[in-house]
Symmetry: C2
Subunit: 253 residues, 2 copies
């Protein structure tokens, strides 16, 4: 796809700061769930450069949220991604290995320090059409277990996003739009285990989930397996949405 | 204190961007707890300008966290404030009523758009020595219930910080360093009620708190009241610290 990607031209390098804010970027951690694996979308810089998170700059008239939405739409083809801002990264040496890709970069606004605002999203894997940007020539999913060394502090950003996603799992429901409409308790458990990256005790999990009062057990059972057919569940969308908004925790908020 | 505050001089207005990052600021929401009231520290701009949150700029060689720590040290006199970054505010019109305080400001980097990184802290009220900055001539505590209209989007930032503090209350312990070493259950409840801004059922609160297993009931009782002397408690610091780190929620994290 290299031909279709706009070149990193001298106009962008010399005058980009007239269009974009200096010192401010956004980076996105796009998680997908596929075949019981948690995936993350990464780009590979041109000229066999390092892998990185999808990211970009903020237009002078654009909100952070809109910039993140625009950039991640360009990389995934998705509209209406639910983005969650999780942290802003502002160490002065976070880009300490910043190198000039070409000589036009000397003195460019791009070579200055950037503070980056991190957003994460959990998207439907099958709907994503990965597309590289002007700095990269590859864009694809990686298993969360086998992510390579990324540029700058992008491994830190990814780990921070994963911690935020896990924290949200602790306090909020998950699964709607990631699981089929009807699902079994083992399928729901596998989603949690994938995101947490570790096994959960089956009885304990079932007890917690039923205690949350967001599941409806259906009369029909899953068929086709060798074992006793497991019950099917669906989410009670009204209770699910309320829990998504309020969290559970101690129930004070 | 007006004489001691450096003037907003033309050097800072014209050349400040050589020392500080353009387009990036930090704002702090400093909460204090005093006489069963939640307070917030605000500054008043000079020339009878509006009230605002304490904030400032990020030096070119400084991390966001260090900038926030430096700025809030200058306003409170406190060292080692535990600051929690909670959100970055990046609407393009968030400073839409930005006005020139004096003619030196025309064309200054200060008049450009700023994205601001919000930090909150809960501090020991009695230890704070409020001090205005170069743009303000007053700095003092306000009851959270009676905060005036603030400049720009600062009321939004404050409300966002309050929501983040309440959310953290839902999932993490609070009280250590805010309460005396030994305290009663009603004193702990009053702290929660103050932050949540509403009453909590006494039995429900006591049940939840004891269920968290972070309190140690002492043999001695509080004396001096007219009623039956209530039990005294202290925090089990090891369990408290673990809960602070891990939260409770579903206990997955």
């Amino acid at each position: 796809m290299g031909e279709q990607i706009p070149a990193l031209d001298s106009d962008f390098l010399k005058k980009g700061h007239e269009v974009y804010l200096r010192h401010v970027s956004v980076d996105g951690v796009i998680f997908g769930f596929h075949e019981n694996e948690l995936k993350v979308l990464l780009l590979k810089w041109k000229n066999n450069g390092p892998w990185c998170l999808p990211g970009g700059f903020v237009r002078r008239e654009e909100s952070l949220q809109k910039a993140a939405t625009r950039i991640l739409h360009e990389r995934t083809g998705l509209h209406d991604i639910f983005l969650q801002q999780f942290h802003t990264f502002g160490e002065p040496d976070r880009e300490k290995k910043k190198t000039q890709i070409n000589s036009n970069m000397a003195g460019s606004w791009l070579m200055e320090r950037f503070v980056t605002v991190g957003y994460y999203a959990l998207v439907e894997y099958s709907k994503v059409k990965p597309a590289p940007d002007m700095l990269s020539d590859e864009c694809r999913w990686w298993d969360i277990q086998s992510v390579p060394a990324l540029v700058y502090d992008h491994n830190d950003i990814l780990n921070h996003a994963l911690a935020a996603l896990r924290q949200s799992l602790n306090d909020h429901p998950i699964g709607y739009s990631l699981l089929p409409e009807k699902f079994t308790m083992p399928e729901l458990q596998r989603l949690y285990e994938t995101i947490l990256g570790r096994p959960i005790d089956r009885r304990n999990f079932q007890k917690k989930m039923l205690g949350l009062d967001i599941l409806v057990r259906l009369k029909e059972r899953k068929t086709g397996g060798a074992h006793k057919a497991p019950y099917l569940y669906r989410f009670d969308k009204r209770k699910y949405d309320r829990a998504l908004k309020e969290g559970w925790g101690l129930g004070f908020v």
